[in-house]
Amino acid sequence: MDFSDTKEEAAFREEVQGWIAENAPDYLFESLSTSGFGSTGTGDYDPLTEAKKWQKKKADAGWACIQWPKEYGGRGATPIESVIWGQEEGVYARLSGNFIIGQGMCAPTMMAFASEEHKQHYLPKLASGEEVWCQLFSEPHSGSDLAGLRTRAEKDGDDWVINGQKIWTSGAQHSDYGILITRTDPEVPKHRGLTMFFLDMKSEGIDIRPIKQSNGDSGFNEVYFDNVRIPDSQRLGGVGDGWKVALTTLMNERLAIGGSIATGFAEIKELVDELKIATGTAIDNPAVRSRLADWYAKSAGLKNTAARAISALSKGETPGPENSIGKLVAGGMMQDIAKFALDLQGLGGAIVDPEIQASSARLQGMLMRSPAVRIEGGTDQILRNIISERVLGLPEEMRADKGMPFSKIPKGG
């Protein structure tokens, strides 16, 4: 494979650079660049308003969700062009945080399973950021064992009536729509009794409560459903086919997360180049260099793996479960890097005040946020199961509930 731009790619890159130079919100450049880890710094401006403005501007000029077909609000661009766009959008891509779930996970599911009429109606507004979507999967009793979910959907005339609770729903509080997986038949084995829908998040009976996370932020929510009605026309896939539909979403989730994930390498490199420790500048210490080399080799490995996945995509191949390695490597690495960085600073490393700490305390933010990276969207352990079973072909986990009707599975507490 080739790692440099072809003539066509170079021309496309130039076009992208030109449009971004002309149109990007450069008044946000400084605050976006110095954003604390995991937050979108927009200074005196409201982040969601600015995000929607930039997304709409891109959409109007044909630069939103560029890989989507034109009729759904995209540009019909190739995977390579999409990567080039991402590289050139650079720091302004930090504005897109609110749209990642909708555009990266809900949209591919809608494209695969929604009716043509619904696709034409919903996808363009999802691309342009006018409407925000969320994904309602995890529940208090089913995280890694997602197929053990309990939220019920019962048929009533042409509607389904939903009762139950979802958790860890990013962005639910400002979402207009969501995709929702429910249990429609508790009397069959757990994977076979599930059905997927999309719904209006302003429907009557929905109650959204933010979760205060261990790092003090609130990016996730609990969502309660009390007799919420969804028309049958908003069902995605067949009744009982929800697991198959969910796999489409989850495969895209691992791609969306793995492809763009931060590792913390840039931050640690910047720190050790300048930081003074007992033996002199940190980078002059062999132990520091050894760690740095290991992390660079890993982050380069992820970047080059992504480049190979994109190259495979552009040849029409489907990204496989091997892409699970992205988040697995990056999550642990980020946590190690943050811990190491603070350690080099001594007690001063404990300070999280962005006014005092270098780089807006990004490494401290990383320390406190990274435990979640190793859990969200598939825990490290689930990802290792996927790699060992689906890539290496090792025997499946022994499952105590195999073949058992959902209603008969022991539920513990």
């Binding site: 494979m1 080739d2 790692f3 440099s4 390498f265 840039a266 490199k269 910047e270 180049d273 980078i283 062999p286 260099r289 050894s290 740095l292 080399a293 290991d294 660079y296 080799a297 890993k298 380069a300 490995g301 992820l302 080059n304 793996t305 480049a307 190979r308 091997e322 390695i325 697995l328 490597v329 352990q381 990802l383 290792r384 199961n385 790699i387 060992s388 079973e389 890539v391 290496l392 072909g393 090792l394 025997p395 499946e396 986990e397 022994m398």
Partner: protein
Amino acid sequence: MVQDQISRFLRDKCDFSVFRSVLEGDEPYAEAVWRGLSEMGVQGSAISGDYGGVDAGYLTLCLAARELGAHLAPVPFSSSIYLAAEAISRYGSELQKETWLPKLAAGQVIGTLAVSESVLEPTSDSIATTFANGKLTGVKLIVPHGLVADVAIVLAKTDEGLSLVLTELENSKREKVDTVDPTMASATIEFSEVDAQVLGSAHDGWAAISDIYNRAAVLYAFEQIGGAEQALQMAVNYAKERFAFGRPIGSFQALKHMMADMYVALKLAESNCYYAAWALQNDTDDLDLAAATARVSATQAFQLCARDNIQVHGGMGFTWEFDCHLYYRRSNYLTLIIGGLSTWEDKLVYALPDVA
């Protein structure tokens, strides 16, 4: 594809019985395998057509290296091609190239590179072998494939500083030196006032070694991922067949997750190797960084896969009879061959651009 052809040939002619006959001292290297590779032109893959090579480029040589690594081929390929032929191609005079490259490309002659003089990692001021008035004197303690090589490129001290010199080995005393991987045919070579000539024109020998090592690092990295992949496959196969507690041991997460981590290390290294192969083929500005990155991650991957393959096999993995130690031996020798992991970690960090 050339790679398939090499793979098929090695599968047929270079199974572990061949490795073991070299390991157990019946022959210093697998001569029949070496000849078979010459017949396919593998040694000449990246050597110019002007000097008897097949000019197929470095990408082809990288893929060949991967296959040789996968089969732990006990032949002097790496020393002769990644080290000696590269040194002559890059630094040799026209006459030296015309004399040696066609023979190296055809596998008629075996070459090597002699640097280490003690049990310490060599440095630019530790080299004691001298070259003066056309004569070479000194002892190289461990020379890979030194036992079977016909010609050596030697790092020596001259009045003008370090230089690479070329010498034929027929008049030098050599003795087998025991190492963790006896199939690498390592030797101690003693030069006492033997004839030698500067490789090409006057040059900085230490810088030349560094340049040759950077390029060789990419090729060794391909051997390392080839070996890592096979060691992982061996572990996976065994874990599917071996039962304990009434179930295949490969169904236990403790082992599944260990093998998943082996796969992750391999995948990262493989992607870095592909990038480095592209950098080598196109002689890009970031070759130093790309090579060090491939070398570091491939070393990690092969060491991890070889080590944990033994762990998956349990006690059987520690027997002479099982093949696990063959990967373990090779992985540990290859880690050290052009400088150990910490040396390459340093090279990587010093090659990083200022703004990451």
